[in-house]
Structure formats: C-alpha cells, structure tokens
Symmetry: C2
Subunit: 410 residues, 2 copies
Amino acid sequence: MAEVAASWFNARSLLDGAELKEIYQHERPEDDGWLYPEQVIAHGQSTESTVTIPDELRYRYAEVGRPTPLTRATALERHLGTSCQIWLKREDLLPNGSFKITSALPQAHYGAAEGRRSVVTETGAGQTGVAAALASCLSGLACEVFMVRSSFDDKPLRRRLMEAYGAVVHASPSDTTAAGRRFLERGEEAGSIAMATSEVFDVLRGREDGMNIAGSLLDFTLLYASLIGIETVDQLRAVGVDPDVAIGCVGGGSSFGGFAFPLLDAFPEAEIVAVESASIPTLTAGRYVFDHPDGEGDAPPIKMYSLGFDYRPPPMHASGLRYHAASPLVSAFVHSGRMKAEAYDEPEAMEAGLLLARLQGLVISPESTYTLLAAIRRAEQAGPGRAIVALVTGSGHLDLDAYGRFLTPA
Amino acid sequence: MAEVAASWFNARSLLDGAELKEIYQHERPEDDGWLYPEQVIAHGQSTESTVTIPDELRYRYAEVGRPTPLTRATALERHLGTSCQIWLKREDLLPNGSFKITSALPQAHYGAAEGRRSVVTETGAGQTGVAAALASCLSGLACEVFMVRSSFDDKPLRRRLMEAYGAVVHASPSDTTAAGRRFLERGEEAGSIAMATSEVFDVLRGREDGMNIAGSLLDFTLLYASLIGIETVDQLRAVGVDPDVAIGCVGGGSSFGGFAFPLLDAFPEAEIVAVESASIPTLTAGRYVFDHPDGEGDAPPIKMYSLGFDYRPPPMHASGLRYHAASPLVSAFVHSGRMKAEAYDEPEAMEAGLLLARLQGLVISPESTYTLLAAIRRAEQAGPGRAIVALVTGSGHLDLDAYGRFLTPA
C-alpha cells in the first residue's frame, strides 16, 4: 500500500495578519453549517500550518490511488530539443479521472461521521459530480447530482460514471424541484451551474441529514487538495530535483492551490504560475474585490479576483475553467505578487494537448492543456537545465469529444 | 524513468517437441511477410526462452507507462471478509486505456525500421485500433483504421482517441475500398471484423510500404505482451508474495498469454486460470482442432480451441471476448491441463465490476469483470491467506455505455 501524507498543508498559515484581517472580515459562504459538516468548516477556518489526516482516511486515499505518480515527459523534452526537465504530476490516473476525489473524500467522510446520510450536489461538465458520487458511495452516503442539462446531453459517459458509482443523476433544470420547474416554465432548458445550485438548495432545505460537497473555491477544498502538492514536494526531493517553475491551471482554484502552496512553502525560490484561459481572464484582467461566488448574487461576497458575478463566460472546451472568479487564497497570493498569473488562448492549448498525445500517448484534460502550453513555452524560453513541474488535473478520455470538436470543427 | 524488463518471455520455449511438431505442422497465417515486418515474424518463430528488447524500445515502453502498477484490492478484500489477498495488475493505467499498446509498439517500431511507412488495421470495439494509432504515431507511421460501423457509431470517444493520435478512421464497410463497396451494395452496413479485415487487405495489397498491426492471437502478440507477466512476477517478488492463483480473461488470448506464461514459469505451483464468457465458451466447450482464424475461412488454419470459424457470437458488453477461437499457445496449455479454463455469465461479471467501482472507484473493462468475478469466487471459496493475482486488461471509462446499458437496460 502506498504511503499517504500524514497531514494536509494549510495555505491560510502562509497569510500574514493584515491579509487574514482583510480577507476574512465578512461572513464566509461556507461558514453556515447547513451545507457542510462541522469538521469540514472547522478545518477551513483553521490557521494551523498542518491539519492531521485520520488513519482511516489515509487508507481510503491510498485505496483510490494516492499518491499519484510524478512522471517526466521525456518524449516531449526530446521533441522540443530542450535541456529542461518537464515533470508532470499525474492526477489523471485517479480512477474517477481527476484530482477532485482528493477534496470530496474527506467531505463525505466527515459528513458520514456526523450523521449525514445523503449528498446532493451540482455539477457542470461532471468532474465534481463524479468525485461526489465516488466519495459518497465510499462513505455509505446516498448521492443525487444535478447536472447542467447541456452537459448531461453532451457527456453521457461522465453521467454513466456517476451512475456506476451509484448516484442518481438529474438533468438540470429538472422537474423534481420547485426551482427546476420555475426555470423550465421560463424556457431555460439548457441550464447552468447557478440553476443546478438552486435545485440543490431546494432539496437540501427540506433534508436535515443531507449535505453538499464543494468542488472548489472554498478554503477547505484547497486544504484537502494539498495532498497534490505535498506528494509533489516529496517526489521531487526523491529524485533530487529543485523545481525552477511550478505551473497549474485555475478554474475555481482548488487543484492549483492544493498543488502550489506546498511547493511555495518547500521551494521558496521557485516561480509559481497560475494559468488561465484568455477567454475568461479572471486573474489577469479581473478586479480584486469582494464579490459573490455564485452567479445570482445570493451568496455572501468574498475577497477574490473576479470578472463580476454576473459575467457569463463564453463556451470553451476547458469547461472547468469557466468560472468568473478565483479562490480567495490563490487571489491573495497573485495580488501580493508571490504567485504569477498568465492567460493563454485555447487553440494553442489544445494543440499542445494533441502534441503530448502523439508523443507519449497521454491525453490530458482540456483544462490541463493550458498548463502544458505554459510549460512548453517555459522550456523553449528558459535557460538550460531548468526543471519545470506541471500539474495534470485530470484525464482527457471523457473529454475526447472536445478534442474531436477541436480537430473537426462543425 | 521506470525500469522496463530487458527481454520478452517466449512461451514457445515451454512447449515440448511433440507439441511444437503438432502445432506448427502447417504454414502459419502470419508467416507471409507482406502483412508484418520480417523481424516481427522472426520473433514469432523463435523458440529461444527470451528475446532481447532493444534499448530504444525499452525507453518507448517506459514513456507510455510501463511497468504498470500491481495494486492490492484491499477495499474489496474487506468487503468480502476474506483473508485472501487480491492483487490487480493494472493495464487500465496505460494512456491508450488497455494492454494493447504493449504488442502494437514493437510491431510499429520494427516496421518503421524496415522501411514501412503506413499502418492499415481493422478494429471492432476499438482497443486494437487505438493501440495501433498510438504505436504508429510514436514510430512516425501514418495510420488508417477500419472500424466496424456499429462500434464506430456506438463508441464515438474511442474513435476520437484514434483521431487524437493522428489516425484516419473509416466506418467499415466504407466506400473507400472495392471490398467495402461490395458489402455496402449487399446491404451489410453494420459491418464485422471479417469485413473490416477484407477492406484492410484491399488497401495493403496496393501498398508495398504498408503493414498491418495484429491485435491478438498470433504468437508474436503473446511474446510482446509478456511484459505484463514479467512485471507481475517482479512485483510479486518485491512484496514477497507467492501467488496461489493467477487469473485472466481470454478473447484472442494475447493479454492472458502475456500475463500467464511468465507466471507459470516463475511460480510452477500456482493455479493458472483462463476465464471466458459462457456466451462464447471457446476453451470450455470448443474443439481443439485446426481451424481458420478469420471469419470467412480464407486464412490458413491453425491448431487451437475453436467454436468454428463460421460461429457468430452473440452481442455482449465484453466485446473483446467475442472471438470464435483462442491463441494456439494458450489452447495448447489448456489442452494439456497446465492451465485451467472457466466460463462465467456476463450479468454476474458486470455486477462484480460495479462492486469494485463502488468499493474503490476503479471502473475496469467489461472483459476484465469476468476475471474479477473469478477472483472473487476464489477468495470466497479458497482456504485462508491465499494470494490471488488478477489481470485488469483495460480501463472501462470508454466502455461506460456498456455499464450504462447493464444498469438501465433499454
């Protein structure tokens, strides 16, 4: 059995007093206990530098495939003719297809321990829903997922994966909730994450032993995802590599935060780069303000880079990056200059993804192709012998329709 | 970089003189050099116990993810309440989604070295086509795949994966070959492997620098696949486990042979079990005869268990098991009693697959669910403390439609 880290790494501990005061001056959306388990909320509020992982949970992490490998993209290096090393942290190898089980697992675990009996959650392209479904069945919780109808129709296999994990999946808007019926009456059949969230709230308001599983953004999702970075630090040390650059993509920011903060702590000289899509340039063109995390302006505002809660992102292959804001913790570090942000265009990113596929077979999630593109640019421009570590957030196998649409536009 | 074995293991070396004489008394389908590279044919004919893997190819194997992990299914063991250990050899973690790249890679490599410039191959559900597409682009060969039209329509993502690897994929029967046009004129739109093979032959007859990539059955496919078993032996020894039982499923027999022969050699006391579907009971109800490997009776007959070349298997989720015969090498060992064969029903197998998914997230190929079911039955019935090693031939992510149809029959 692989060795899973004994503690999560708490990025809050890296903030100074003034930052903490500024960021946490208002009530936080997650602090209301009806949605999340008390232990989860307490973990999110902790300012300790580490939070102990109970042995039972470490065992569960190992059973779903943590630690994930760190592999070197030697075929890509050879093709580029670079003397730089390009290392990939391989969250694509998790059985649910993405890093997201890393945060979902403890949420379901603590929920079950506190007597919650069911999970009700929303999902867009489906990665969050798949992780919630798996985490739920591992902890003996029932699971219902409201999946944005356009994805429900376009991504049948991701829905099937949730069902394989025992979840009940509704196309949202659905006729099973009052909110869903209102949206349907207004003719809004295609749905959106905001509508799916309204349906989830409708169900959970009437169910005392229900809970939500958060997919990203909130501090506790970054805390739990920190295993990604902790493992990467250990794995780099095991091969004697001091990274010069660490790169990850940012949608809500949980994979990036989970990856980047332990690296920032362990390798303070490394350049840490958050990559986003030029189609939704939250960190590079957004404002650092208190804004609503939801699309309707109902949830309490939090301090973060945002394009505005009413911003409607364009359709894109990397649907996991289609979010108007970015995690408060990541935002604070970009704002203070301790992390950089860069935006790239999707066609170049997808080309980079195809290049990797054809050089070593690896088909990564469309979101991660942006990270790969940034890594390739660095390898082309950086001095000789640099070490670049890039986060692959998930597999692209269930997003092959996106690669197909890119190769053969309709 | 992971350490790849220095040699393949040659199962022919385990046959005695009488068996060799009996099995190889006639010309073999693969011995005609127009379809396969000379080096590949020579490897298939070798009776040496090992065949050296050139360093360049070892490096390529490592770049596509060999060795694959051997992991223990502890959540499954706990659920069963067994003291047996259940080990899984994880071919699902290869980037193409199955073990098949293990045989395709050397075929393309030697073809390119001998001046072949393009691969033309047939595929049913797509695993062979995907591996051929990846192996081709890694060796700089163009690749065309004729994919049985019913799968082409039903499995769009597997087609997309071939295209991501740069292959041109035709729905077969196609209007690009004379054979295809004949089938279409006769109204045989749904296609079959036999028809797709006829189209491949049509193209290759007119192309001197073209070649085929064999997916299974032929001796050299088992030789190249022997890395699966060699790695498993090393990995079991590394954890100090002497397996009591080794189990794999048999379609054509290349994954099973590649897995089982090195284990048989290293652990002569172990029980070696070939698992098949009761819907197509080649090894358990077929005859051990000289029969045609193709569906039309055109190819030279070979000695193997067969249900008859004109047997038309029923539709099933585990489409990789839908073959009327089994590899001559595997057949010889089942015939002599050195390996066992067992047949299982598909609904129980798919239930076993769902159980594993819900216990540790792992969604395996429908073919491998038969193996899993056999492993579970052994764990339930075997004496305490036995070690069972089961081969997972591929990921089920691109077969989630099969899981879906099983969960929700039309």
